[in-house]
C-alpha cells in the first residue's frame, strides 16, 4: 500500500456490504488509489469527524445525523442523497411464529426494535403510530444490526429492521413486508469532509455512488433510489 493515495470513507454500518463493493469498483478505475472504510453507526461516525477523525467522505443513514456535520461547518460540499431505505419485519428462517403483518407484533411474541433515540427506532415509532399498533418489545436495541442479530440467532420471534438488512442477512432471516412501512423512509446522504486533502477523489467517489454502477450495487442490496 506504500506510495498509494488512500481515500478514507466513513459510512453507516448498513452500507458495509454495498460500499465495500463500490470501493473495489473505484479502486479498479483509479490506479494507485486505495479506499479505506470505517463502518459504524451514523452518530458515531459524525461524532468522530467532529473530534478530528481523518475522514475524506461521510455517508450517513439519515439526513438528521448529517445535518449535525453541516451545522458544524465540517461538510466540504452540500450533502447529496444517494439511496433510501424502509422498514421490514424480520423473522427467523421458517417464520416459526407465523408473523404476517405489523398487527401480529402486538401479541405476546418476543419482539425486538430499535430504541427511539436511534434513527431506525424513530422510524419504528412513526410506523407504529401510523398503524395504530401498540408494540411492547422485550428489548430496545441501540442499533438496527443489534435487532437483526437478535432475530438471526432466533432469540426474538420478530424484529423491525431495514429492507437491506433482511437482504444482507441471507437465508438466516425472512422478511415480512407490511404496507405501513411507507410512512417512514430513511434517506441516505453523502458528503465530502471540509479540508480533506483528497477533495477531487472524494467528488469522483460521490459520482460513482450516484452513477449507474453504484446505484446497481445499492439496488441489488435492496436499497431504493433516493427520492
Amino acid at each position: 500500500a506504500t506510495g498509494e493515495t488512500t481515500l478514507t470513507v466513513f459510512a453507516a454500518a448498513s452500507l458495509t456490504a454495498t460500499f465495500e463493493e463500490i470501493g473495489e469498483e473505484f479502486e479498479r478505475t483509479h490506479e494507485g488509489v486505495e479506499v479505506a472504510f470505517s463502518f459504524a453507526g451514523s452518530s458515531d461516525l459524525v461524532a468522530q469527524v467532529q473530534e478530528g477523525a481523518p475522514a475524506d467522505l461521510v455517508a450517513s443513514a439519515d439526513e438528521a445525523t448529517m445535518e449535525r456535520l453541516t451545522a458544524d461547518g465540517l461538510a466540504g460540499a452540500d450533502p447529496v442523497a444517494f439511496a433510501s431505505n424502509t422498514l421490514r419485519i424480520a423473522v427467523p428462517a421458517g417464520n416459526p411464529a407465523d408473523v404476517s403483518g405489523l398487527a401480529d407484533l402486538a401479541g405476546d411474541l418476543d419482539v425486538v426494535v430499535c430504541a427511539p433515540e436511534v434513527p431506525c427506532g424513530a422510524a419504528t415509532q412513526r410506523v407504529a403510530r401510523r398503524a395504530g399498533v401498540e408494540l411492547s418489545p422485550v428489548s430496545e436495541e441501540r442499533s438496527v444490526t443489534d435487532v437483526l442479530a437478535k432475530v438471526t440467532t432466533g432469540e426474538a420471534d420478530a424484529g423491525l429492521v431495514y429492507v437491506t438488512d433482511v437482504a444482507a442477512a441471507g437465508g438466516a432471516v425472512e422478511g415480512v413486508a407490511f404496507p405501513e412501512a411507507a410512512a417512514a423512509v430513511n434517506v441516505y446522504p453523502i458528503a465530502a469532509v471540509a479540508g480533506s486533502p483528497h477533495a477531487e477523489l472524494a467528488a469522483e467517489f460521490v459520482d460513482l455512488v450516484r452513477a449507474g454502477p453504484g446505484q446497481r450495487i445499492l439496488r441489488d442490496a435492496g436499497f431504493a433510489p433516493a427520492p
Partner: protein, 263 residues
C-alpha cells in the same frame, strides 16, 4: 514477630513514571468532569430512565458479585492448592473471558443459554426464559467478571503459601475448618480486592449484556447501556451519566478499601 518492624523507601525516580501513569488515568476523568452539564445534572440523574438504570446496575452487579464469590473462591482454591493433569490448560481456558471482546462473550452466551443454544432447550422445558430477562444481565456480568476474582484470589493464595494451613491441620482442623478459619481470613485482602474488581467489571459491563440480554428500561438496560443510547441523541446527558457511574465506582472502591484491616 518483631524481627523487622521497619520500612525501607522506594527509589525516588520511581515517582516520575508513577505520576505520569496517574496523570494518564486521571486526566480523562478531569476532562469528563469539565464537560459535564452541571446545570442539568440533577434533572438528568433523577429522570426515571436514569434512576431505573442505576438501580438495575447496582442490583445486578451485586448479584453477580455474589455469584462470582460463590463460584470463584472454590475455583481459585482448586487451581492454587491442588495439582492435576491438564490444570494449566484449564486455568488458561477459565481465564478466557478476560480476553474475549465482551461482544464475543455475549455471542457465546447466546449460543449456550439462548433459545437455540446448547442448554436452551433444557431451560425451555423447565419453563425458564433466560434471554431478555434480568437473569441474562446477571449471567453476562458473571461471565465477564468471574475470571477477575479467580485470578486475584489465586495469586493471593499462592503468595500466602501453605505454612499456616499446615499448622492448622496438625491442630486437628479439617480441610473445611482450615478453609474457613485460616485460608479465607489470611487471603481476605485478596478476596476483597477480587470481589471489588468483579463488582466493578460487572458495573461497567456493556458488550456482552447488549448482545445477550438486550436493552429494556428497568429490565435489562443497565447504566452503561443507558449511557450508550443517550449518547446518540444527547451527548452531554451521556457524559453526566458517565460521571454518576464514576462516582458510584469511586464510592464502592473507596468504601471497600476503608473496610480493610491494616495497611
Amino acid at each position: 514477630m518483631s524481627s523487622s518492624p521497619g520500612r525501607v523507601g522506594v527509589p525516588a525516580w520511581i515517582v516520575v513514571p508513577a505520576v505520569a501513569g496517574a496523570a494518564f488515568v486521571l486526566l480523562p476523568l478531569v476532562a469528563i468532569v469539565l464537560r459535564t452539564p452541571w446545570s442539568r445534572f440533577l434533572d438528568l440523574l433523577l429522570s426515571p430512565a436514569s434512576a431505573d438504570a442505576l438501580a438495575l446496575s447496582l442490583r445486578t452487579s451485586a448479584t453477580s458479585t455474589v455469584l462470582c464469590v460463590l463460584l470463584g473462591v472454590p475455583m481459585a482454591l482448586v487451581l492454587a492448592r491442588t495439582s492435576f493433569r491438564g490444570q494449566g490448560v484449564l486455568r488458561s481456558l477459565v481465564l478466557l473471558p478476560l480476553v474475549l471482546p465482551p461482544v464475543v462473550g455475549g455471542i457465546a452466551l447466546l449460543y449456550t443459554f439462548g433459545r437455540r443454544g446448547l442448554l436452551g432447550r433444557t431451560f425451555e422445558v423447565l419453563g425458564v426464559q433466560v434471554a431478555f430477562s434480568t437473569t441474562a444481565v446477571v449471567l453476562a456480568q458473571t461471565f465477564v467478571a468471574l475470571p477477575f476474582l479467580v485470578v486475584s484470589l489465586e495469586g493471593a493464595l499462592r503468595t500466602a503459601g501453605q505454612r499456616y494451613e499446615v499448622v492448622a491441620a496438625t491442630l486437628g482442623a479439617s480441610p473445611t475448618t482450615v478453609f474457613c478459619r485460616v485460608t479465607l481470613p489470611l487471603v481476605l485482602p485478596g478476596l476483597v480486592s477480587g470481589a471489588v474488581l468483579a463488582f466493578a467489571r460487572s458495573l461497567g459491563e456493556f458488550g456482552a449484556t447488549i448482545t445477550f440480554a438486550g436493552s429494556l428500561q428497568g429490565v435489562t438496560r443497565t447504566l452503561p447501556l443507558e449511557i450508550y443510547v443517550r449518547r446518540e441523541t444527547d451527548a452531554p446527558a451521556a457524559v453526566a451519566l458517565s460521571l454518576v457511574l464514576v462516582v458510584v465506582a469511586v464510592l464502592v472502591i473507596g468504601l471497600t478499601r476503608q473496610g480493610r484491616t491494616g495497611p
